[in-house]
C-alpha cells in the first residue's frame, strides 16, 4: 500500500508560493487518513458483530432444536444405565409363605391379522376355523375382506396352536408377544388370588391388570417397576391350603352342603394361613360373574370373606366374655335357663330342655339360648354394642381383599333389648366367617385385638389393644375345651391337639322374612391347642345335612365339627405343632393340666 505523505512537498511549495498556510494541507491529509481508518474499523466491527450474531443464532438454534426433539420424542432411559425394563417381568410373582409359587407369568403370543398383507384369505379363514373351534370361517372371511387393516384374533395362544397357525403359511397372520398370568395350583386359593385380565394392548405387549382378589388389591405393587420384580409374599401356606380344601370339599360332598368355607388364622399375628371357599373356580380360566340367580352361589363369591351369615351360637362366647369381663358372672355362676323365654312377643327356646338353671360354663357347653339371652339382658344393649365394635364385628374386615372390605355385617335396624338377647346367641347380626375368626383370635389369644392380614408377617407385631383380660381369655379357653370334651362338639376332639371350640347352627332367613326350618348354616369356631391357642379355625357349611341317622341332622355338632376336626388332625402337624403326648404313651388329655 502506498502511503500518502502528510506534507507532500509539491503541494506545500505551491501553497507557500501562493501565500497559503501549508499546515492546512497536513491537517486535511490527517483527517483523510483518520476517516479511512474509521471506515475500516467500522467495517471490521460490523463483520465481528455479524459473526457473533450468527454463532449465537446457531447456538440458540441448536438448543431450541434439541429441546424440540426431546419434547417431541418418546422418553428413553440412558442406554448405558438401562438395566432391566425389558428384562424384568411385567408383573411380579405371588408366593406363599414358604416361597411356593401361587402366581407367575408365562410368555405366550397373541394372534392378529393384517388383511392387506394376506395372500389367500379364504384359506386362512378355513385354517383358523379348523384350529379354533369357536371361530367361524365365513365370519372371519367377511372380516378379512372388509376394509379393516388390523384385526385381533386371539389374546392367548398355546405353543401348539401357534405352530398350527404357522403351518397355515399365511404372511398376514402375525403374532404379538404377550405375558400371561399363570396360576400353577389351579383352584387352590382361587378366591384369594382373584384373577387378571388384559388392559390396554398393543402389538408388542399388553397390560395385565388384576381384576379381583390379591391381584386387584396389590395391583399397584405387582406392577411397580421400582420394586425390581420383588415377589408378593402371602401368609397363605400352600400345603395347608391344599389339605384344608381337600377335607372341606370332601365334607361338603358328604354333607351335601351348598357351600363351604374355612378360615385358618394365626391367633397372634392375624395371618390368614388358609382360606377356602367352595364352590371355587380356576383362576386360569376365570369365569364371568353370573348375571342372574343368587350371587352367593357364584363360584367367584368368597363365602369366607364375603358371605355374611347369622352364625348362631358361636356368638355365645362373646356374650360370656362380656359377662366375665364386666363381672356379671363367673364361670360357676348359675344362670336361669328355664324356658321358653318370652320377650316382646318373641319366644326364645333351647334345642332341648336344659333344666331350670345352668352354670355359665354349662350354658356354653350345652349351648343354651335362654341362658345367653338372660345374661345379655343383664349386661344391656350399650356394653354389648361397644364390645362387638371393639372386636371389629360391626365393620367390614380390613383384610387386603376388596371383596372382604365390601362385606359389611348386617346389623339390626334398631338395637333393642330383644336384639341384644338374640345377638347373644348369634341371631340378628350377620357377619362373615372371617369376622368370626378374627374375633375369636382376639378374645382367646390372651385378649388382644388381632387384625387379619393376607401378607406374611416377618417381625412379630406388637399386640393390639386389649379387648378382654388375660383371666377372661383363659376362662373362655377352658369353657371351649369343655365344649369339645363333653358338650356339643364332642366329635371335634383331636388326640394331642387339645381342640377347643364352639358350635353354631343358625336357620337361614327367608328372603321374605322368617326363617327356614330345614336350611341351616352350621359353624364350628375352634382354637388349638386350647391351653395356648396358636391357630383359630372357623368352618362354615351352608345348608349341610347329615343323613346317616333315622332323621336328617343339621346341627353343627354333626356337620361342621367332624369336618373341622379332620382339618385340624391333618393340618396341625403341617403347621409344626407337636401333639402333647402323655409319658405313658396314651394320648388322653385331662383337664387337670389347666
Amino acid at each position: 500500500m502506498i502511503r500518502t505523505p502528510l506534507r507532500p512537498l509539491a503541494s506545500i511549495l505551491s501553497a507557500r508560493d501562493k501565500g497559503e498556510n501549508p499546515d492546512l494541507i497536513e491537517a486535511a491529509n490527517i483527517r483523510q487518513r483518520m476517516e479511512a481508518r474509521r471506515d475500516r474499523d467500522r467495517q471490521r466491527a460490523e463483520i465481528r458483530l455479524l459473526v457473533l450474531a450468527l454463532s449465537f443464532l446457531a447456538a440458540f438454534a441448536v438448543v431450541g432444536l434439541r429441546m424440540g426433539i426431546m419434547s417431541a420424542s418418546r422418553p428413553q432411559e440412558p442406554k448405558t444405565e438401562r438395566v432391566a425394563r425389558d428384562i424384568l417381568a411385567q408383573r411380579a410373582d405371588i408366593l406363599d409363605r414358604n416361597g411356593a409359587v401361587l402366581a407367575t407369568n408365562l410368555v405366550t403370543n397373541a394372534l392378529y391379522a393384517q388383511p392387506p398383507m394376506m395372500v389367500d384369505k379364504p384359506a386362512a379363514a378355513r385354517g383358523l376355523a379348523a384350529i379354533f373351534p369357536d371361530m367361524n370361517a365365513d365370519r372371519l372371511l367377511a372380516e378379512f375382506q372388509s376394509s379393516r387393516k388390523f384385526i385381533w384374533l386371539r389374546r392367548k395362544l398355546s405353543p401348539e396352536q401357534q405352530q398350527k397357525v404357522y403351518d397355515i403359511g399365511e404372511p398376514g397372520l402375525l403374532f404379538g408377544p404377550r405375558e400371561m398370568r399363570l396360576y400353577p395350583n389351579g383352584r387352590l386359593a382361587a378366591q384369594i388370588l382373584g384373577g387378571t385380565s388384559f388392559g390396554r394392548q398393543g402389538v408388542k405387549s399388553a397390560e395385565i391388570i388384576g381384576i379381583a382378589g390379591v391381584e386387584h388389591s396389590f395391583d399397584r405393587f405387582l406392577r411397580d417397576p421400582a420394586n425390581g420384580g420383588a415377589p408378593l409374599r402371602l401368609s397363605i401356606d400352600l400345603t395347608v391350603q391344599a389339605v384344608t380344601r381337600r377335607v372341606l370339599a370332601g365334607g361338603r360332598k358328604l354333607l351335601r352342603a351348598k357351600g363351604a368355607a374355612a378360615v385358618l388364622m394365626d391367633a397372634h399375628t392375624g395371618e390368614v394361613v388358609s382360606m377356602v371357599s367352595l364352590p371355587d373356580f380356576d383362576p386360569n380360566k376365570r369365569p364371568a360373574p353370573r348375571a342372574k340367580g343368587d350371587p352367593t352361589d357364584d363360584p367367584l363369591f368368597n363365602l369366607a370373606a364375603q358371605g355374611v351369615f347369622e352364625l348362631g351360637s358361636v356368638f355365645k362366647v362373646f356374650n360370656a366374655a362380656l359377662a366375665l369381663e364386666r363381672g356379671v358372672a363367673t364361670p360357676q355362676t348359675m344362670i336361669d335357663t328355664k324356658g321358653p323365654l318370652k320377650w316382646a312377643g318373641f319366644t326364645i327356646k333351647d334345642f332341648h330342655n336344659l333344666g331350670p338353671r345352668l352354670s355359665l360354663t354349662d350354658v356354653i357347653v350345652e349351648s343354651s339360648n335362654i341362658g345367653s339371652a338372660n345374661l345379655a339382658r343383664k349386661i344391656g344393649v350399650a356394653p354389648q354394642q361397644a364390645f362387638l365394635k371393639k372386636l371389629g364385628l360391626l365393620k367390614a374386615v380390613p383384610l387386603q381383599l376388596a371383596e372382604a372390605r365390601q362385606a359389611r355385617p348386617i346389623l339390626p335396624k334398631r338395637w333393642s333389648d330383644l336384639s341384644a338377647m338374640t345377638i347373644a346367641y348369634g341371631h340378628g347380626l350377620a357377619v362373615s366367617p372371617l369376622h368370626l375368626a378374627a374375633a375369636y383370635a382376639s378374645v382367646l389369644n390372651g385378649g388382644t385385638r388381632v387384625t387379619p392380614t393376607l401378607l406374611k408377617v416377618t417381625t412379630p407385631p406388637k399386640p393390639g389393644p386389649r379387648v378382654v383380660s388375660e383371666k377372661t381369655s383363659q376362662a373362655l379357653r377352658k369353657m371351649l375345651r369343655e365344649v369339645v370334651l363333653r358338650g356339643t362338639a364332642s366329635m371335634g376332639d383331636v388326640p394331642g391337639y387339645d381342640v377347643g371350640g364352639k358350635t353354631g347352627t343358625a336357620n337361614k332367613p327367608k328372603p321374605g322374612g322368617g326363617y327356614y326350618q330345614d336350611r341351616t348354616v352350621s359353624t364350628f369356631a375352634s382354637i388349638f391347642p386350647a391351653r395356648d391357642p396358636k391357630y383359630v379355625l372357623v368352618v362354615t357349611l351352608d345348608e349341610p345335612v347329615e343323613t346317616s341317622g333315622p332323621k336328617p341332622r343339621r346341627t353343627a355338632g354333626w356337620t361342621a365339627v367332624p369336618v373341622a376336626a379332620e382339618i385340624i388332625r391333618r393340618v396341625a402337624p403341617l403347621l409344626g405343632l407337636r401333639p402333647a403326648i402323655d409319658p405313658a404313651g396314651t394320648m388322653e388329655y385331662t383337664l387337670s393340666k389347666y
Binding site: 425389558d86 407367575t104 410368555v107 400353577p184 389351579g186 387352590l188 394331642g496 394320648m587
Partner: protein, 159 residues
C-alpha cells in the same frame, strides 16, 4: 516458532479427533454388546420364568397327591399325623456293641498331676471297667423301652 506452534496444534487436533473417533466407535460397540447381553438375560430370565412355572405346576399339591396314591404300593406314604410324633426318650437307641475288655485299666496315669499333691486314688480315680456288668446285660447304656413296644406295631419291632 509460531509455525511450529501451529503445526503442533494441528497435529494435536488431528490426534484428538482420531482418539474421539475411536472412543465413539468403541462405545457404540460396547453398547451393542450390552444390548445383546441384556437381550440374552431377558431371554434367559424368560426361560427361567417358564422353568419356575413348570416346577410349580409339577409340584402342585393335587399332582403330588395323585402321585402318592399312584405309588402307594411301593412307597406307602401316608399323610403326616399327630400320632407320628413321639417323645425322644421313647426312641430305642442302637444296642451298645459289647467289647471284650475284662481286665481293669488304670487310667490314673492319664490324669494331670494334682497341684495339692494328693495321691490319685484320693481324687476318686477308679479303675474303669468296660464290658459286661454284673447283671450280665451288655446294653447297660440303653434306655428301657420295653413298655412302649406296642406303639410301634409289630413290623418295626424293637431289637
Amino acid at each position: 516458532m509460531r509455525a511450529l506452534l501451529y503445526l503442533a496444534a494441528t497435529v494435536l487436533v488431528i490426534g484428538l479427533a482420531y482418539w474421539a473417533y475411536n472412543e465413539n466407535y468403541a462405545t457404540q460397540a460396547q453398547l451393542k454388546r450390552v444390548d445383546q447381553m441384556q437381550r440374552q438375560i431377558a431371554s434367559l430370565r424368560e426361560r427361567l420364568g417358564v422353568l419356575h412355572a413348570e416346577w410349580a405346576y409339577l409340584n402342585r399339591p393335587a399332582r403330588l397327591r395323585d402321585l402318592v396314591q399312584l405309588n402307594d404300593p411301593s412307597l406307602h406314604l401316608i399323610p403326616i399325623s399327630g400320632g407320628q410324633f413321639r417323645a425322644v426318650k421313647e426312641i430305642a437307641y442302637p444296642r451298645v456293641n459289647p467289647r471284650d475288655v475284662t481286665a481293669p485299666v488304670d487310667l490314673s496315669a492319664a490324669l494331670p498331676p494334682d497341684p495339692l499333691g494328693l495321691p490319685t486314688r484320693a481324687r476318686g480315680a477308679v479303675p474303669v471297667k468296660v464290658g459286661p456288668d454284673d447283671t450280665g446285660r451288655t446294653d447297660a447304656g440303653r434306655i428301657d423301652v420295653s413298655g412302649v413296644g406296642s406303639v410301634f406295631g409289630d413290623k418295626e419291632g424293637l431289637p
